[in-house]
């Protein structure tokens, strides 16, 4: 093959810069292909009329017709502009206010700005040097100039300019018509134009008075065929028709010498149509509506703004090809960062692969399989750019003609990198790179052992997620490397390793926790390892040698730790291993000197702290905190080792390693808990209920008694205030203050029982009861959940307070109690009172196990509803905040010197975070010198030994 310098025919062009301005009439005429003169659209045969609004020289939308300007058919023709010669000039509605300002600031005779020459020069300098924003300079100029009564340059007197929204201007109380406005503006010299906020070359003020109206191409305002077969025109087309019609009439009136008032009316009408055409929501003018239905028309501005406008809906974000969406389901067998892709998706979304002498055979085979047989291919693109669709009939021919330089769009295959995302995309981990694994079925499959859904905030109750297939080698590399297993995706930049995301969760953690407390018969241990192994895995159980730590004897249970237990039914003499040993199988030898205090029994002398020496878990019970800690240790120690040895950038490998290990660990946990069994049902709750019910009762009674007293006291005091026969602010305030204080005390009193019960539960933990195991190990839930299920619902809160009746206003305190029917009690079940009672105030004595009574249930539901509403607001509010914040901070990038700069090159931070540390890669607060030093010392010692 010849290696030539690449040459591209028709190199693609890209936009380098965009200049903004106002379109001058010459340019409008020049770019136009048609002058639109008649308001008719189509003729009797349905063919667009010449010189009409739908003229074919402006583009075609009907299939079958060809554009008369460029000759392309309907799909390809981009459309061309036309123009309308306005009989009389009209003000552009959006520039009207600016025009008004300019008129106020300049002289009608000489056109100069009404300020002394020196000042004008000074301002011009400021504009050119860009010291101040042009807007503020222009504002100042106008403000100063408009006050002047005469022109310093020619002496003419300054007229009074009045402005009526949206487009009417009066000079000395007489209508100043656009044609005169234009000639005035034309007088303004370029130098003065600058200081008025306009641009002498790109935006001269007189161009804001339209003499020619550009007509957008047909493709920009296509007509649609309704179900009835009729043709409906686009809103813009309607307005254009209106404009042409009125324009025509005005022209006729002018030519036939009609009386002034008629001309003025028609002129105003023309102005109105042009105004609403451009912006139909402009104030001061009736909204133009559809003839039928009265729906407001969409003007040009309406097309652009808002969430569904051009910018946000079609430009900053777009619909894309090569994407797929489906429901997600879990799969414990999948490796981390591997995604189960339905076969039908793989056949539709293709990867473009360029044929070379080295892959020719492989790709030929794919082409031969054709589009229907997987793995196959759908299209071939030849070197000349032609696109061949592979079909059953032509696949052999195409395969034979396949040559290097062609591109084959082949089906998605195992190992291909893809982007996987769940909306809302709130952070980095909402969109990750995965390796494809094509599977039968219709759902996307997420690895569940070392659970990957956490970052996405995905659960499997029907969530759907999106897939995108990268289409270039560069993109593939980026997805694979940067979006795949990388330290960012184990730990968010939010808080580094202190906030682990993708790790074993739920059942896996329960399994790991129990495993670390278990003694297992050797045989079963090996069985478990077999179950963990996957086909084609790096892990081979037959290579593992487990040394039994003990032999079972009849009194074995008495000899082990109080929290440990024996699995299965071993016979005396049978060799046993500990779960910790099993787990250690997967830990690398260099993982050493790790000490992590657990959260399940941190004070326990023997097993409160997990200690890992040379890859073995020497002691300690596992829980969520420990598991996360181990992940952190794995990644950071690995990285520290690699770096200390001088081996370069460690983060990809470190992440992959950690995931590999944790995948196995997670699977082990799952297999163990499956085997051992775990459940949480009524029996477990009943046990807790029976044990603590009496004590809980006592606690409640105490609190209720105290609360009752407080309420009585409080009501008495309030009545005292009420009876005061005065009328000032302090009395009202005092009443409110008393009420607030009582409520807060009562609430605190009644909230205590739940907290006390929780404490009671905590102090009497039974770590053999699943109800405790789940929360204490960190798998799911908290003691509060157990307390509420088994024993007591506790004090309900709405808006931070006890439920109360409709908020009384100050009149209540000021006057005697008036019979507001619903306002003196929470529900009609209770007597009227000044302060809600115990149950009335939302104190729920029962737990779910016993069941709540009617009132308790209702009030609890109210509180629950508040939570849901809160969540709704939160979503919207945080979404808006997110958008604003992200858009503002978008362009803050780190430069080569570690400085944070924005798109204007401003230095926001001389050193990122002041210490230049990446929060995702931090160990501890930045760099944990102690632990790094440990690793470093080890490595250095090793190195020195070798020498």
């Amino acid at each position: 093959m010849v290696a030539e310098e690449p040459h591209v025919q028709d190199p693609p062009k890209y936009v380098r810069r965009i200049l903004f301005g106002i379109l001058p009439p010459e340019k409008i005429r020049k770019m136009s292909k048609v002058e639109v003169t008649t308001p008719e659209t189509y003729d009797e045969d349905g063919y667009p009329i010449e010189g009409g609004v739908m003229d074919t020289r402006m583009g075609v939308i009907d299939p079958g017709l060809r554009c008369r300007t460029c000759g392309q058919p309907a799909g390809k023709c981009p459309g061309h502009f036309g123009h309308i010669e306005l009989a009389r000039p009209v003000l552009h509605p959006r520039f009207a206010e600016r025009i008004k300002d300019v008129l106020r600031a300049t002289c009608p005779e000489c056109g100069r700005v009404r300020l002394p020459e020196d000042d004008i020069e000074e301002y011009r300098r400021e504009v050119r040097e860009g010291i101040r924003p042009v807007k503020s300079i222009a504002a100042e100029v106008v403000e100063r100039a408009e006050d002047r009564e005469s022109c310093p340059h020619c002496g003419a007197e300054a007229p009074k300019i009045t402005y009526q929204k949206p487009t009417t201007i009066l000079m000395d109380d007489e209508r100043l018509w656009p044609v005169d406005v234009r000639s005035w503006l034309e007088k303004i010299p370029d130098g003065d134009v600058e200081i008025l906020g306009f641009h002498p070359e790109r935006a001269r003020p007189e161009w804001a008075v339209l003499t020619v109206l550009p007509v957008p191409p047909v493709t920009m305002r296509p007509s649609i065929i309704l179900e009835t077969g009729e043709r409906a025109e686009d809103d813009l087309t309607h307005k254009l028709v209106d404009i042409v019609r009125v324009n025509l009439r005005l022209k006729e009136s002018l030519e036939s010498g009609a009386p002034e008032p008629i001309i003025e009316d028609q002129w105003d009408l023309l102005q109105y149509h042009v105004t609403t055409y451009i912006d139909n929501e402009i104030g001061g003018v009736p909204v133009a509506r559809h003839r039928t239905g009265g729906k407001p028309l969409k003007g040009i501005v309406q097309r652009l703004k808002g969430k569904e406008g051009r910018f946000r809906q079609n430009l900053a974000g777009k619909r894309v090809n090569f994407s797929a969406r489906s429901v997600i389901t879990p799969d414990p067998e999948l490796d981390p960062f591997t995604l189960g892709v339905p076969k039908m998706v793989a056949k539709e979304l293709t990867v473009p692969e360029r044929v070379t002498e080295w892959n020719l055979e492989r790709l030929r085979k794919l082409v031969l399989n054709g589009p229907d047989k997987y793995p196959g291919a759908n299209y071939v693109i030849k070197r000349d750019g032609s696109r061949i669709r592979i079909t059953e009939e032509n696949k052999e021919q195409v395969a034979e003609n396949l040559e290097p330089g062609d591109i084959v769009e082949r089906h998605l295959m195992d190992g291909d990198p893809v982007m996987f995302n769940r909306q809302p995309t709130l952070h980095v981990q909402s969109e990750l790179g995965f390796r494809t694994k094509v599977m039968p079925g219709k759902t996307f499959r997420l690895p569940a052992a070392c659970y990957m859904g956490v970052g996405f905030n995905a659960d499997f109750d029907g969530d759907e997620m999106n897939l995108h297939v990268p289409q270039s080698e560069e993109a593939r590399a980026e997805v694979h490397e940067l979006m795949g297993a990388y330290v960012y995706h184990l730990w968010p930049p939010k808080d580094g390793h202190q906030d682990v995301r993708n790790s074993p969760i739920h059942e896996a953690i329960v399994g790991l926790h129990l495993l670390s407390r278990a003694w297992i018969p050797l045989k079963e241990a090996y069985q478990l390892l077999e179950e963990v192994k996957k086909e084609g895995d790096w892990f081979d159980p037959s290579e593992v040698e487990l040394e039994p730590e003990a032999e079972y004897s009849r009194d074995f249970e008495r000899k082990i730790h109080r929290l440990e237990f024996v699995c299965g039914h071993p016979s005396p003499g049978e060799p046993l291993v500990t779960g910790r040993q099993l787990l250690s199988v997967f830990l690398p030898e260099w993982l050493d000197g790790v000490k992590i205090r657990n959260q399940v029994c941190p004070e326990d002398e023997e097993h409160g702290t997990v200690v890992i020496k040379r890859g073995r878990i020497v002691r300690g019970f596992l829980d969520e905190k420990v598991v996360h800690g181990i992940m952190g240790e794995l990644v950071h120690r690995y990285a520290a080792r690699k770096v200390s040895k001088g081996e370069g950038y460690p983060w990809f490998e470190a992440a992959e390693l950690a995931l590999k290990v944790m995948d196995k660990v997670g699977r082990l946990g799952l297999r163990f808990v499956t085997r051992y069994g775990f459940t949480l049902g009524m029996d477990e709750l009943e046990e807790i209920y029976r044990r603590f019910r009496e004590e809980a009762e006592k606690i409640c009674r105490r609190a209720i008694k105290r609360a009752r007293k407080l309420i009585r006291e409080g009501e008495r005091r309030l009545r005292e205030v009420e009876e005061e026969d005065v009328c000032n602010r302090s009395r009202v305030e005092r009443g409110e203050m008393i009420e607030r204080n009582i409520e807060s005390e009562v609430m605190a009193t009644l909230d205590r029982p739940r907290a006390e019960v929780e404490r009671l539960l905590e102090e009497n933990r039974d770590l053999f009861n699943p109800a405790y195991i789940m929360p204490e190990s960190g798998a799911r839930g908290s003691i509060t959940n157990i307390a509420r299920m088994a024993l007591i619902g506790g004090q309900q809160a709405i808006m931070g307070e006890r439920p109360h009746r409709a908020k009384h206003n100050t009149e209540h305190i000021m006057e005697k109690i008036v019979n507001y029917s619903y306002t003196d009690r929470v529900t009609p079940h209770f007597e009227k009172s000044l302060i809600p009672g115990i149950k009335e105030g939302g104190f729920v004595r029962h737990g779910f196990f016993e069941g709540l009574d009617m009132v308790e249930y209702f009030l609890h539901a109210m509180s629950g509803r508040e939570g849901l509403i809160d969540k709704g607001f939160r979503t919207a509010d945080s979404g808006y905040l997110h958008r604003r914040y992200v858009t503002t901070a978008l362009d803050l990038i780190v430069d080569e010197d570690g400085r944070v700069r924005d798109s204007a090159n401003n230095i926001i931070q001389l050193a990122y975070g002041e210490d230049r540390v990446d929060p995702a890669k931090k160990w501890g607060d930045g760099m944990d010198v102690d632990r790094v030093l440990d690793v470093v010392k080890e490595v250095v010692l090793e190195e020195e030994e070798e020498e």
């Binding site: 600016r98 652009l304 939010k494 807060s744 997110h882 604003r884 362009d891 803050l892 975070g913 250095v940």
Partner: protein, 433 residues
């Protein structure tokens, strides 16, 4: 610093030279100390020490933020993603029902958008000088002194007698005592305020106004008198004494009125604040800081804009960070502080705190945004009109505009081009032959 530490520090500097890295001050210190006190390295020779130090420095290098990282987006996302977990409710502050500070998203919102009217619950922490901060009673006295007390708080009824041109009010002795106002103080005040003769007979206060002409004038004066601030500083809605366990001292928690205080703020405040509401609040804080009993160097508030106006941009920046940390902490969410630092530095870049929200000309976006970004972000038609009028140029340097236009974004891999070195190909070919 011992000799050993000096040596290590020297070696460390050399290693840093070689590795072309500058360590942050605190880290350098820590490394030197730890290595010096390490048991295993006591006998180590220079070579070993060098190795160790080099490995440590490389470990720092590898944890550094990388050029091209879109740090702004990361900070924004890291802060906003947990916001979806935040509750919206207000939390009661230290059991003081009148002063409960909002937390959660509304609080976050207000720190970032810096609304002119200030936080929904504006609080000022007044630290006191000795001996006021050690004695609860003394502190109470100060609180009483500054709390805004209006005439109507001290009287029960106000009657107007137009024929005699007299205003009569029934004194509320209890309240007067509670709020610490005595009769003479009150009569003096009324005398000054109304310009009329004022006397107290029993529990009735009588003001005779001779130069009032009409009934309506009299009624108006009575109204003004009713609302007049007799004692304390106007704007101090509540003042309560709190105890700081950590510092072991008493301080005063003040709830400020969003309208600030009475009187015209000094020019320098008005100029720096740019907005009258902000200026009035800053003025209130100034008044409070100037009290003799107050330790002005330790006064704080939950409104960063006021801090910016009174104490400068750096202080304002620190106030923003502090407020942000508080919000997240109170919600139990931990976010690395570098993200807070970045956003506050962004807000502080221009020399005064700028808001994240678009606020009529003074937000961050409006200052630096390019036409297309602004159009995509906010009021499309206004932006386009202004851009067209001034003939602005879109240089396509930011992120959004490149997306709109369809170019690769100038971030990370977008700043880099990949090419093939064809000479290598030819070499390989030649070798084959």
């Amino acid at each position: 610093m011992s000799g050993l530490e000096d040596r290590i520090e020297g070696l460390l500097r050399e290693v840093c030279e070689e590795e072309d890295v500058e360590l942050p001050v605190a880290l350098e210190r820590e490394i030197v100390e730890r290595v010096a006190e390490d048991e295993d390295l006591k006998e180590a020779d220079e070579e070993t020490l060098r190795r160790v130090l080099r490995a440590l420095v490389r470990n720092y290098k590898v944890r550094m933020i990388e050029p091209g990282d879109a740090v702004g987006v990361l900070a924004a996302q890291s802060m906003c993603e947990p916001a979806t977990q935040m509750t919206m409710r207000t939390f009661h502050l230290a059991g003081v029902a009148e002063i409960d500070v909002t937390t959660g998203i509304p609080a976050l919102e207000r720190v970032l958008s810096l609304p002119y009217q200030g936080p929904p619950t504006w609080v000022i922490y007044l630290r006191l000088k000795e001996p006021y901060n050690r004695d609860e009673e003394k502190a109470e006295a100060v609180a009483r002194k500054i709390r805004e007390t209006r005439f109507e708080d001290l009287v029960r009824e106000i009657e107007v007698n137009p024929e005699e041109r007299v205003i009569e009010a029934t004194l509320d002795r209890e309240e007067m005592e509670r709020l610490g106002v005595d009769e003479d103080e009150l009569t003096e005040f009324v005398r000054e305020f109304t310009g009329g003769a004022c006397q107290v007979e029993g529990d009735t206060l009588r003001v005779v106004l001779t130069d009032v002409e009409s009934i309506s004038e009299l009624a108006e004066l009575a109204n003004e008198l009713r609302e007049a601030v007799v004692k304390g500083i106007e704007g101090v809605l509540h003042a309560s004494v709190q105890y700081d366990e950590e510092e072991e001292e008493y301080y005063i928690l003040v709830r400020g009125s969003p309208d600030g205080t009475s009187g015209r703020p000094p020019k320098w405040i008005s100029r720096r604040a740019r907005n009258s509401k902000v200026a009035k609040r800053a003025y209130l804080m100034l008044k409070l800081m100037q009290l003799d009993e107050v330790d002005a160097t330790r006064v704080n508030t939950n409104d960063p804009k006021v801090i910016d106006v009174l104490l400068g941009i750096e202080a304002g920046r620190n106030a923003v960070i502090e407020q942000l940390e508080d919000v997240y902490e109170s919600q139990g969410i931990s976010v690395d502080r570098r993200h807070f630092m970045l956003i506050s530095d962004m807000m502080a870049f221009w020399g005064e705190l700028r808001s994240v929200r678009s606020m009529g000309g003074y937000s961050i976006m409006e200052l630096k945004g390019s036409p297309l970004t602004k159009a995509a972000f906010e009021y499309v038609s206004r932006v386009l009109t202004e851009t067209a009028t001034s003939g602005d140029v879109e240089e396509l340097r930011g992120i959004l505009e490149n997306i709109i236009v369809g170019r690769p974004v100038p971030v990370g891999t977008g700043t880099v081009e990949v090419t093939v070195d064809y000479s290598r190909f030819r070499e390989a070919e030649e070798e084959e032959e």
